[in-house]
Amino acid sequence: MDLQIFLLLGQDGITSGAVYALLALALVLVFAVTRVIFIPQGEFVAYGALTLASLQAGKVPGTVWLLLAAGSAVAVLDGIRYLREGRYGKLPPLVIFNVGLPLAAAGALLVVPPDSLPLAAQVALALALVIPLGPMLYRLAFQPLASASVLVLLIVSVAVHLALTGLGLLFFGAEGSRTPAFTDISFELADTPLQGQTVLVVLASAVLIAGLYFFFERTLYGKALRATAMNRTGARLMGISSSMAGKLSFTLAAAIGAFSGILIAPITTIYYDSGFLIGLKGFVSAIIGGLASYPMAAFGALLVGLLESYSSFWASAYKEVIVFTLIIPVLLWRSLTSRHVEEEEE
């Protein structure tokens, strides 16, 4: 192994690490706020990438119909509640957001061929189609169980993952897709070629992480999420709605997932079930941060990315084994160094 190979592998590892870092942050966020171990995180990666790919192929992506169905279900569930409680003023925004906007998107897609739009509009449309699925999922699958045990939430999370994977196969087919690169620039760095797209992935991840930091430190909603993460009951007493916090964290998680998917779609082929493994690696990184620390999770993600890259060079057949075995020493170290706090019963 010479220096060039070493650098190329490092570059590859950092690129994957940047994506894992985003997913790890989303997992930590969702777990801290709602105690859900969010297995379907990876599905948003696949949905984001494949929705963009089918828009570019000039097809109406199946996500539109899923969005419409989930939105209608949310509107019916919440609508009944508002009617019972007599809060009629809440009905129009509820219907407009959950049914009206997806209908408008579906109508627009049927009228305007999506492949004629500029790339930026396609990306925006893909994000707009996938991100609302996050809060809808929370409303449908997790909000009714918000006070259930972590185990029950995990089981629901696995069920949601399986349902989304199955729907992904139905919507996008078994074969993968790749979208055209956002940029064709390539650099030379220490005699090593560097693709513009890779730089874009790392840069975008860094910007997004900085944005999240700003959101949590400087905005009211970010502080509300942090408060909920620290103490749910206390936050509720201060007037922070836990279902609002849950929806917000799922929206962020869906946005991060869909965005990562769109970032990596040009450098690799994405399948309807690619998300699971990517999400799982994000999960390993989040475990390194104890599902609580954001900087440790980001560090863990880089570690996973680099480990994956170098082990694919040395022992490609055992690559996944090596990456997932990493979790054992990490768990051992964590259980030896940190005190175990019994979960509070509500």
């Binding site: 190979i5 087919g173 074969e175 082929t269 399948y271 079930d273």
Partner: protein, 379 residues
């Protein structure tokens, strides 16, 4: 008394249904092998609804590319649906696991998976088992021949880290060694990997003249893209597992000049007019594309079609000996399958015998080159 009445009623119902020929199908229409299983499932819909005047029922189950489910499906089809013949499954591990069930139920089975071990050697159990895809060994030989003719001395292999990739690695390294080709690197990658940079760098460090990629469907495009990115100038070979339109769509111009062995159905309209397979292959292509749109045909669906042709050829012979739904019929069907001679199909010409339950020869394969985003038959 009530029980016997019920039993009599049930058996009455059963005999009424038994007049038809029942074909049990288990396919991998979901899970990792879905890109192979879905065209196969579409093909089942195109199969004849009557054979020699008898109505044919197809009972199609999905095994989700999972071995346990395939076995469960096979048991269910035999014991509950009383099928006369089993078709499936899509993948080699699934098909291998079903052999015991088929033999135990004395039901003939036609697999659509590639591994030679499914039908070789023909023993007491495997005497019930037939298959339609070309053996890996046949395809490996075609690749190795093409390599030696192109003056390739050293070759590297990168394949899936599953049964498909391992199978090809074994077959290919055996044949390559016999033909004095040196295998300088042997790497693995996963179907859903997002990067193969590490493996490709290792392969390039070994400086091979040619590289064989052992993957199926669009995932096999990833190593080619990485190779082009890193400036590999040698020959690139794929296996027949990539032969569908999606592969060309995903791989795009990265795959120009790639060679692969394939069944004649892939290039049916380029076959010479006197080619024995041309007519039967074109028939399948026309039928499939009429139902699913132009350019939708893949070689995987054609394996299912060939299985259907085998049944359609064997069933009339068996019907002369026994009634469908009986043990005798299943036995007669097996015997008739074994005696099929000169049956032109989509992938080749079947010549079954007691020692060969595949029955394909050289006519079942050809080398194909990707040129201008399309498959071109190499003369």
């Amino acid at each position: 008394m009530k029980k016997t009445l019920l039993a009599a009623l049930l058996s009455g119902l059963a005999t009424a249904a038994l007049a038809d020929i029942n074909i049990g199908v288990t396919l991998s229409a979901t899970g990792p092998a879905a890109s192979l299983g879905i065209p196969e499932k579409n093909t089942i819909d195109l199969m004849p609804k009557t054979i020699a005047g008898q109505k044919v029922n197809y009972i199609v189950l999905d095994d989700a590319s999972d071995t346990t489910s395939a076995v469960k499906n096979a048991r269910k089809l035999i014991s509950e649906h009383k099928v006369d013949i089993l078709l499936g499954s899509t993948t080699s591990p699934n098909s291998l696991a079903m052999i015991d069930v088929a033999a135990e139920g004395e039901t003939p089975m036609i697999s659509m998976a590639a591994a030679a071990r499914i039908v070789e050697p023909v023993d007491a159990k495997k005497s019930w088992v037939f298959k339609t895809p070309q053996n890996d060994a046949q395809m490996s030989t075609a690749i190795v021949e093409h390599m030696t003719n192109s003056n390739v001395k050293t070759v590297a292999y990168i394949g899936f880290s599953d049964a498909y990739g391992e199978g090809w690695s074994n077959e290919f390294s055996k044949i390559a060694e016999a033909r004095k080709l040196k295998l300088v690197a042997n790497e693995r990658f996963n179907r859903t990997d997002t990067s193969v940079t590490g493996q490709i760098l290792k392969i390039l460090a070994a400086k091979p003249d040619a590289i064989l990629i052992g993957g199926s469907g669009t995932p096999a495009a990833l190593p080619e893209k990485a190779l082009k990115e890193k400036g590999f100038k040698g020959l690139i070979y794929q296996t027949h597992g990539v032969a569908n339109a999606d592969f060309l769509r995903v791989c795009g111009k990265d795959c120009e000049g790639t060679f692969l062995p394939a069944g004649p159905v892939l290039v049916a309209n380029q076959l010479p007019a006197d080619h024995p397979v041309r007519k039967s292959a074109l028939e399948y292509v026309t039928k499939y594309e009429a139902a699913h749109g132009k350019g939708s045909v893949s070689t995987f669906g054609a394996h299912a079609w060939d299985a259907g042709l085998l049944v359609a050829a064997a069933a009339p012979v068996a019907l002369k000996k026994a009634q469908p739904g009986t043990k005798e019929f299943r036995k007669a069907l097996r015997d008739a399958l074994e005696n099929i001679k000169n049956l032109p199909a989509a992938h080749g010409v079947f010549n079954m015998s007691a020692g060969d339950h595949l029955g394909f020869d050289q006519r079942a394969r050809g080398m194909v080159k990707i040129e201008g985003g399309a498959w071109k038959l190499v003369k």
